[in-house]
């Protein structure tokens, strides 16, 4: 049978011929090119999502005043802004930035494989993602405008066009999500098969870097969760177009069914958005501390525990939906239980840094930023998990603060760390360190000035999706705070300019990168920057885990996974001679 193909493949790449520009850079089947394609596409969506955020913040800070260059934000447009900001950021920025970019780029390189298990499906995955993004962006420009039912698209608000005044926009949203699901599915099948079947000799599961563990577990969650979303939005689509009545109470349908289906997907989804970030951070922190990751096995088990618990906590989004309080209590307990593996991870990161020989390079700064901000977001998550506390803060800005602490302070900080860390490998040039540090400092400051006050707004009862807070007397004292947040948000947006400038400048003018600029142990650093098509000239053999920093057995402070120590070489030469 075809069993040996996977192992024999690295030897087969030697005879590949020169490819045309289109085959090499556009319709490429090379996982590295696909990863880079995902990087450019999702960074563009990240910028778009940021612009939408600034527009909606303008309305909250300066209600009714004309925004320069945009004009007054109309109520219906405000709803569209809220909806599309969430949608773009979750589905088209953070998720593809973590999973599309780094799963594609890193998995084969870090496990010593020549490419993904199904390179053509991988290419298809990217191009379906592009189509999905085009359809979603198109919904901004069609008659009736973009959907205004929120990124959670609660039915029946989303199911009946009259309620939001949007018909075609909502349908395009659904079509885009289904396409996105197909893209995600193809990616997940690829990642899972590749990790299981294509690891290099010696790369046992417990020698895999934590980034790969996290991406592997994430792929399993995405594989199982995204189809539920697809099923849910298809039912919603039928309610809009075929006259079915799944979510329409007038004909016996159940609006709560939508919430259950959505959050049964939606809660695993938040772990899709954070687990890869945790994995990436573990790699960066070990590198920046020049120490092995503290408690490697417990880190892996914590990832698995979080992934499992993520399936039984969706009800905490629905405490105020009229759910049986007894059921709510069980969701409360399972949600709080997630704090345990999360805390294990945080303490292990601290333990890794403790007495380390710390190197504050830009990726490390972002990694430390991740740990501190994720901790705040995680702690506010425990408040909200409490059934009774949630009565008070449900659907307020407290929730908005929490989600941004874990999704921006968490995931996006990790993404920035990853961009700086693997940029030299991707493009063969270093990013500018000084500007990287300036980017970190400005982002960290304005990030906190933007999102921390939202906790206070939330405690004051500021609702999550209101158009004009000055309409409510009890919110009027908070208006200066709202203004402050808006100005900070604009500055946070401007603080990303150093990243953009640094990124493009370094792409063409940056210092040439050597193969291993960070002195790291992973297999990706053993090949040239950028790695050639097919990655490894000879399939590497792995002798140890990925975090052997400051090993007493070697002179340097790092020990790559594929370097045999004295005496090992001969044994191996005999053992795998026929490979």
């Amino acid at each position: 049978m075809a069993t040996v193909e996977a192992m024999a493949a690295p030897l087969a790449h030697g005879h590949h011929e020169e490819m045309s520009f289109v085959r090499k850079y556009i319709f490429s089947t090379d996982h590295k090119i696909i990863g880079i394609q995902f990087l450019f596409a999702s960074l563009a969506f990240l910028a778009l999502g940021g612009v939408l955020a600034i527009m909606l913040r303008w309305q909250l800070g300066f209600p009714g005043e004309a925004m320069p260059g945009v004009g007054v934000v109309a109520p219906k447009f405000y709803n569209a802004l809220v909806t599309m900001h969430g949608t773009f950021m979750v589905f088209f920025a953070v998720m593809p930035l973590l999973v599309g970019v780094y799963a594609n780029y890193l998995i084969p390189l870090k496990i010593g494989a020549p490419d993904m298990a199904f390179p053509r499906l991988n290419m298809l995955s990217f191009w379906i993602f592009v189509q999905s993004g085009i359809v979603m962006t198109a919904s901004l420009f069609v008659e009736g405008g973009a959907p205004g039912a929120g990124w959670t698209a609660y039915a029946p608000l989303s199911a009946v066009p009259q309620y939001t005044g949007v018909s075609l926009g909502q349908q395009l949203w659904i079509i885009s999500i289904v396409l996105f699901g197909a893209s995600s599915l193809l990616g997940s099948v690829n990642y899972i098969t590749t990790v299981i079947n294509m690891r290099a000799p010696g790369m046992t599961l417990f020698r895999m870097p934590l980034s790969i563990w996290a991406l592997f577990i994430t792929a399993i969650i995405a594989l199982l969760a995204v189809p539920i979303l697809a099923a849910a939005v298809i039912l919603l689509f039928f309610d809009q177009t075929l006259g079915t009545t799944f979510f329409l109470p007038a004909d016996g349908g159940q609006p709560l069914l939508w919430q259950h289906l959505f959050w049964f997907f939606g809660h695993p989804e938040v772990y899709i958005l954070i687990l890869p970030a945790m994995g990436i951070i573990s790699d960066v922190i070990a590198n920046g501390s020049r120490k092995p990751v503290f408690g490697y096995h417990s880190m892996v088990l914590a990832i698995i525990a979080i992934a499992f618990l993520g399936w039984i906590t969706w009800g905490h989004h629905m405490f105020q939906s009229g759910m049986n309080p007894l059921l709510g209590t069980s969701f409360m307990i399972s949600t709080m239980a997630i704090a345990i593996p999360s805390a294990i991870k945080v303490f292990n990161w601290l333990g890794t840094m403790w007495r380390g020989n710390l190197r504050f390079h830009t990726p490390m700064l972002f990694a430390i930023g991740f740990v501190s901000l994720f901790t705040i977001g995680g702690l506010s998550g425990i408040f909200m998990a409490s059934n009774s506390v949630d009565i008070f803060i449900h659907d307020t800005y407290f929730i908005v603060a929490h989600i941004h602490y874990v999704l921006f302070g968490g995931s996006l900080m990790a993404i920035f760390a990853a961009i700086y860390f693997w940029f030299p490998k991707m493009f063969g040039r270093m990013m500018n360190e000084a500007w990287g540090k300036i980017h970190f400092a400005l982002t960290f400051i304005f990030y906190n000035l933007t999102f921390f006050p939202m906790h206070i707004l939330g405690m004051g009862g500021h609702m999550r999706r209101i158009y004009d807070p000055t309409q409510y007397e009890f919110l009027q004292p908070y208006q200066p705070l709202n203004k402050f947040i808006t100005i900070s948000a604009i500055l946070l947006f401007v603080a990303q300019l150093p990243l953009i400038a640094n990124f493009f400048w370094s792409l063409f003018r940056g210092k040439k990168a050597e193969a291993n600029p960070w002195r790291d142990n992973g297999l990706e650093w053993t090949v040239a920057s950028p790695p050639p098509h097919g990655n490894f000239a000879v399939t590497p053999i792995v002798y140890r885990g990925p975090y052997e920093f400051s090993s007493p057995e070697v002179e340097e402070d790092y020990l790559p996974q594929d370097v045999p120590l004295n005496g090992e070489r001969e044994v191996v030469g005999a053992g795998v001679g026929e490979e």
Binding site: P227, A231, L257
Partner: protein, 216 residues
């Protein structure tokens, strides 16, 4: 077969699952399909048990019985199960290197699969004529309890299943053509096995759907 390599320190190389990528990939894909149908079937169960009344089999239509033609669909279920049998026979043939029987059984599988889809389309046309639609006719809605919900869930679940069978038939045609060109041998017949996995999955889903939508 790539045997495990023992590395220094006695660590085995762990050469993966020891099944080829396409087969593993199909299993992983089917896991995702299970979740998709779980979403649809879960919605059906919640709506059905949340409804005040539901159309039951074995009751005349004008007394609140099911509008579905159970006998026809029972026959159709038999057709689909037969197609799984021919699929297995085809795979067993090529494992022995018997290309002639592989072609025969694959052709039978294609025809049985197509017949299933054809009978389902006929069933849809007949039901639509009676007014049983995703949104029932006013007339039928007064007779059949929770008719709109029944119509919504019925067409969604059986429709998605029918789409899966149709895609399966198209892939099966492709595999059959390849078989007729001698593309599968005793040593290399991964395509037959992989499409077979999908086919049996679709068959299994139908047995569940037939039970919960038609029989109970």
């Amino acid at each position: 077969m790539n045997e495990a390599i023992t590395l220094p320190g006695g660590v085995k190389a762990e050469p993966g699952m020891r099944i080829y990528n396409q087969k593993l990939g199909m299993w992983v894909f089917l896991a995702s399909e299970v979740m998709f149908f779980t979403g649809l079937i879960g919605a059906y169960i919640i709506l059905r048990f949340g409804a005040s009344a539901w159309a039951l089999p074995g009751v005349p239509l004008d007394e609140g019985g099911t509008p579905l033609n159970i006998n026809l669909t029972a026959f159709n279920t038999f057709v689909l199960i037969c197609s799984s049998v021919t699929m297995v026979k085809g795979f067993a043939s090529i494992e022995q290197g018997d290309q002639k029987n592989l072609k025969r059984f694959l052709l039978a599988t294609v025809l049985l699969g197509a017949a299933f889809v054809g009978i389902q389309v006929m069933e849809y046309i007949e039901l639509a004529r009676e007014g049983f639609l995703p949104h029932c006719s006013e007339e039928l809605a007064t007779v059949v309890p929770s008719c709109h919900l029944f119509g919504s869930t019925f067409y969604t679940m059986t429709g998605f299943h029918g789409a899966h069978v149709s895609i399966g038939v198209l892939c099966m045609v492709w595999v059959t053509v390849k078989a007729f060109r001698g593309g599968y041998t005793k040593e290399s017949h991964g395509g037959v096995e992989v499409i077979g996995l999908y086919w049996h999955f679709v068959d299994l889903v139908w047995i569940i759907l037939f039970t919960i939508v038609y029989l109970i």
